[in-house]
């Protein structure tokens, strides 16, 4: 699924001071591509990712997902998109604390009313090596384990696009590596578009496309 950004602008006003975070950002990502957004801290990477994924709105500009403009969709219209088309993976995992590992994974499938959500969730958990931790609550899992659960949760509805904001940022390099391998494995298998924010040059190296954010502008993209 294609992601297109056209003239995105975003600014924040704090105490009468305007901070221009994104200026005139435009680019496109082809279906099935693995794209990486890089940039210094505070350069606006997370802001861009949340605008592209419909979690936030730009001040102006358009985001098109498969030719559909999503910047003017209401929260409720965005819901099915987030549920079925997008998958999210965050640096700090963000698992629902009151749900077990299995229930966290099942949840998007249940919302989508997929038949047998538990079977699929179990399958995914087995694949990431957490078959024996299904009933554990998030706080009983390590960071790497939590992130693996989050990956399963992002994948259960076979999304066309996965947005990942520094998914390995909270993990040591070995667990980070494992997480990356998992994500890439699934990406190949499902032909998903993967858009990832990362500071890690090793990860960036493996991407099909790299974007650099500097001063709120896309400085360059390399294939």
């Amino acid at each position: 699924m294609t992601i297109e950004a056209l003239d995105l602008h975003k600014s924040y006003t704090i105490d009468d001071r305007r901070i221009q975070v994104l200026k005139d950002v435009s680019f496109a990502i082809a279906p099935g591509e693995f794209a990486v957004i890089q940039g210094t801290s505070g350069s606006g990477k997370s802001t861009l990712l949340s605008i592209l994924s419909g979690l936030d709105r730009p001040d102006s500009g358009t985001v098109r997902i498969q030719q559909q403009d999503i910047t003017h969709l209401s929260e409720d219209d965005l819901a099915p998109l987030r549920n079925r088309t997008f998958g999210f993976i965050f640096q700090s995992f963000h698992l629902v604390p009151s749900l077990s590992a299995l229930e966290n994974v099942m949840f998007p499938a249940e919302l989508a009313r997929t038949p047998d959500p538990a079977d699929q969730a179990r399958y995914l958990l087995e694949r990431v090596g957490l078959g024996h931790r299904q009933t554990n609550m998030p706080h009983q899992l390590s960071g790497g384990e939590q992130q693996r659960v989050a990956i399963c949760r992002a994948l259960i509805n076979r999304p066309a696009i996965i947005f990942a904001d520094e998914p390995t940022g909270n993990l040591d390099s070995r667990s980070g590596q494992a997480i990356l391998e998992l994500m890439l494995e699934f990406q190949h298998e499902l032909h998903t578009t993967l858009l990832m924010v990362t500071h890690n040059p090793d990860i960036a190296k493996r991407a099909d496309t790299r974007f650099h954010l500097t001063d709120g502008r896309i400085a360059g993209s390399e294939a």
């Binding site: 979690l55 963000h94 604390p97």
Partner: protein, 834 residues
């Protein structure tokens, strides 16, 4: 310690946590409102009563009896009457029907025959303004305006009292000792004592109250005279009171009401205290990281403690002050609502000791409930910075101590507010039992719910929500259920009382009672009313002893229920009434058991702890009568039908002095005419139009329950604050869930459903549990205490249930609104570091 900095920080905390501070503040206000109002009101009434006590009884010493005074008493009274410095006056009170001269109208009236000198204190105010004694000359009567209105007469008209014509000389506006009587069945008529013989109405056996009033000189204390008179009095039927000791029945009802309201207020205080604790705990929890950081930066332990102690202190001072002010307003309202029912008109006055007491109680309660969360701060270590939010706290020894002190505080408070240790013990045991049962029920319920396998997503999420870490679902469920139990129980009991005494008036239930029919008058009576009716012989008697143990009148009068020392109406018959059945013993009487047997109604058997085979000693106008209990009866349904505690075989009482009682169902519009006919034919018969009494009772009951309902509203409010506080306590967890649900593709509606269903589950389970318990409690209260039939009122119960659920849901929803509005991106930013 830099005070300025501390104050600035306290104010900043208040500003940053408006919702929490507001709930905390309201809890503190609620905790003192009720007790302040009641304390002040009661003190005012008591003071007014004491101030007016002499006037309320119109004398220093009052001797009274339901029978003519016995010779010993007469002799004593005569001796006092001879003393030049003592004044005495006799008073006879009874009900009789008066008729207009043309017999077109008649009315049951409360006759008061008085000797000159009455009243020794206070005044009988007349409409003309002329002195009472000058107006009340023989042949004349003074009446209340109501009598003139109801009979269509005016001053100067003549009326028949029995068969004697009297002239209405003036209208009585007020009499000093009138207010101590509870319900009056008719307007007052004053008659000069010299007309007493002429009236011929006061025959033996009719229900006359005999009184002797004494006014004493300076040097003679009422207590001395009381003691002297009591030394020869027959305690079974004669009472002697001083103006200080005399205690009206109304005052007792009134004291009971106030006591009950106080218990409700204490319950409210408890709920509010729990609210205070939970909000404060939640507030401090959100601050743990900040506080740990402050400590890590080198702020001394005391600083953090002082900050929050200062916050609590500030809030509790402002809160209790506002609560006391609101309480004073309520005190005024209470005075207005109950003014007609209180024998005196208390002037509104701020009672400083009562105000001080509630301030103290409020501050103490806040201190106790705030202690637990605040003490927890002592153990806070900078390392909390690195710990996760979840995880379990250990209960520390010091906190156990706080719980113990809090419990003792409440036990002490209950005991302090009550004069009767037994009731207090019952109340405390009842509350503990209730909380225990509710706690166990909530525990079982939650355990079951947690295990419930459910495929429905919204329902499962809602149930999960209940088990959110630190959700305190169990305590909330317990307090909600307990307060709903209380509210429902009051509601149901009141409904049942109303049904029995007010509404439920089945078609065939008698509404007119005829008292004091003489033995030879039954045929004449039947002729006059034109139909047959069941005649019940009535023998007035006193219960002297059970199994040789004398009935102690002084102790009996302490009882809140019926007492054994009052005169009883005995009857004789050999059959059971249609609504009676025997629960102990085989038959009403034992064949061949002789005349000295008696059948007892279960209600009085319970009061007197009377069992089968017990020996009862009665005295009928001085003549003793011994009988053995051979059966115990119960009434299959409670109603306005006449009933008798003690039934004898006919042979036992046939010769005893007696009157006959009967009851009829008469169409309301025909009552007046029938009354006239009966009184013309049989002037000694007292006709009681019960429909009016029922209305009076209903009115009083209505006011009482209004007061009660108002006070239960406070505990309801405390319960609601508790729900709000729990939602505030789990705010961050809820926001987190709402955001995650949205990110994963849930619509707003889904989040709304989950939260609403969670609150609905909480509301429904506490309401259902509360309702069931309330039914149990009010069933016990109705059948055991009031001895009335119990109805379940399914429709009303259901609406109560719905209302309970709706309130919990509404509060939950309004508290969740802010949570729902959170935008995902915003949340993820601020919580990225966790």
């Amino acid at each position: 310690m830099h005070l300025g900095l501390l104050i600035r920080m306290i104010l900043r905390e208040v500003r940053q946590n408006r919702q929490q501070t507001a709930v905390l503040f309201l809890c503190i206000v609620l905790s003192v409102v009720g007790l302040t109002a009641l304390g002040g009101f009661q003190a005012n009434v008591q003071q007014a009563m004491l101030r007016d006590a002499r006037q309320l009884h119109a004398a220093d010493v009052i001797a009274r009896s339901s029978f003519p005074f016995l010779p010993a008493m007469e002799a004593k009274l005569a001796r006092y009457a001879e003393r030049p410095d003592v004044a005495t006056a006799r008073v006879w009170e009874f009900y009789t029907v008066v008729r207009t001269m043309d017999a077109s109208a008649s009315l049951l009236s409360a006759v008061k025959v008085v000797e000159p000198g009455y009243p020794f204190y206070g005044q009988v105010a007349t409409a003309s303004g002329l002195p009472f004694t000058e107006m009340l000359t023989p042949g004349n009567v003074l009446v209340e305006q109501a009598l003139l209105d109801r009979l269509g007469l005016s001053v100067g008209s003549r009326i028949y009292l029995g068969d004697v014509a009297m002239m209405i000389r003036d209208v009585v506006i007020s009499e000093p000792d009138r207010p101590v009587t509870v319900f009056t069945l008719g307007p007052r008529i004053f008659v000069n004592a010299r007309d007493r013989g002429k009236l011929g109405l006061i025959t033996q056996g009719s229900r006359v109250r005999y009184k002797a009033l004494l006014r004493l000189p300076e040097g003679l204390t009422p207590e001395t005279v009381q003691k002297d008179l009591l030394s020869t009095a027959d305690l079974a039927q004669e009472r002697v009171d001083t103006f200080r000791s005399a205690d009206s029945r109304l005052k007792r009802i009134f004291d009971n009401l106030l006591f009950f309201l106080k218990l409700v207020s204490i319950f409210t205080l408890l709920l509010a205290g729990i609210g205070i604790q939970s909000v404060l705990t939640a507030l401090l929890r959100t601050r743990i990281k900040t506080m740990a950081a402050m400590k890590a930066l080198g702020a001394p332990n005391a600083f953090v403690m002082h900050l929050y102690m200062g916050l609590v202190l500030l809030l509790s001072m402002v809160g209790t002050l506002c609560g006391v002010l609101a309480g004073l307003a309520l005190q005024e309202g209470l005075g207005r609502l109950l003014s007609d029912l209180v024998p005196v008109t208390p002037s509104f006055r701020i009672v400083w000791p009562a105000v001080g007491e509630s301030l103290l109680v409020g501050l103490l309660a806040v201190a106790l409930f705030a202690a637990r969360p605040l003490l927890g701060l002592r153990h806070l270590k900078p390392s909390a910075l690195f710990r996760h939010e979840e995880g379990h706290r250990r209960v520390r020894l010091g906190e156990g101590g706080v719980v113990l002190v809090t419990t003792l505080f409440f036990v002490g408070l209950v005991l302090w507010h009550l004069d009767d240790l037994r009731t207090g013990a019952y109340f405390i045991a009842g509350i503990l039992g209730l909380v225990g049962i509710v706690w166990a029920a909530a525990w079982l319920y939650l355990k079951g719910l947690r295990r419930l396998p459910t495929r429905h997503l919204v329902l499962r999420q809602a149930i999960r929500g209940l088990f959110r870490p630190r959700n305190a679902t169990q305590p909330i469920l317990v307090t909600l259920m307990a307060s709903l139990t209380l509210i429902f129980a009051i509601f149901l009991t009141e409904k049942n009382l109303n049904a029995t005494f007010v509404d439920a008036y089945p078609e065939d239930t008698p509404n007119v009672f005829f008292l004091d029919i003489q033995r030879g008058q039954t045929d004449r009576f039947t002729q006059t009313v034109g139909r047959t009716s069941q005649f019940y012989p009535v023998v007035r008697a006193k219960l002297m002893a059970i199994n040789g143990n004398a009935v102690d009148p002084a102790r009996e009068r302490q009882r809140k229920s019926d007492n054994l020392a009052r005169p009883f109406n005995l009857t004789y018959r050999h059959h059971l009434l249609e609504n009676e059945k025997i629960i102990a013993g085989k038959t009403l009487f034992q064949a061949g058991g002789g005349n000295f047997q008696v059948s007892v109604l279960d209600r009085i058997a319970e009061i007197g702890n009377i069992r089968l085979g017990d020996r009862l000693r009665f005295k009928i106008q001085g003549v003793p009568l011994d009988a053995r209990v051979v059966s115990i009866r119960t009434r299959t349904r409670e109603s306005m039908q006449p009933f008798f505690y003690f039934v004898f075989p006919e042979a036992t009482l046939r010769q005893a002095p007696q009157t006959i009682f009967t009851a009829l169902r008469v169409a309301p519009e025909a009552i007046a005419a029938l009354q006239n006919q009966v009184v013309q034919a049989l002037p000694n018969v007292t006709v009681l139009d019960a429909s009016r009494t029922i209305r009076q009772v209903a009115d009083a009951l209505g006011r009482f329950s209004q007061a009660i309902r108002f006070f239960t509203l406070f505990s309801m409010a405390a319960g609601i604050l508790l729900v709000a506080s729990s939602i505030i306590a789990t705010r961050s967890a809820r926001i987190r869930e709402a955001v995650y649900f949205k990110i994963l593709g849930a619509r707003r509606r889904f989040v709304l459903y989950v939260f609403s269903l969670e609150n609905a589950l909480l509301g429904a389970s506490s309401a259902v549990g509360g309702l069931l318990l309330a039914h149990l409690i009010s069933w016990v209260v109705c059948t055991r205490y009031f001895d009335i039939a119990y109805k379940t009122y399914p429709a009303a119960s259901l609406s109560g249930l719905m209302a309970g659920i709706a309130v919990v849901m509404a509060v939950g929803l309004s508290a969740s609104r802010a949570i729902m509005r959170r935008k995902p991106a915003q949340f993820l930013r601020t919580h990225a570091a966790e």
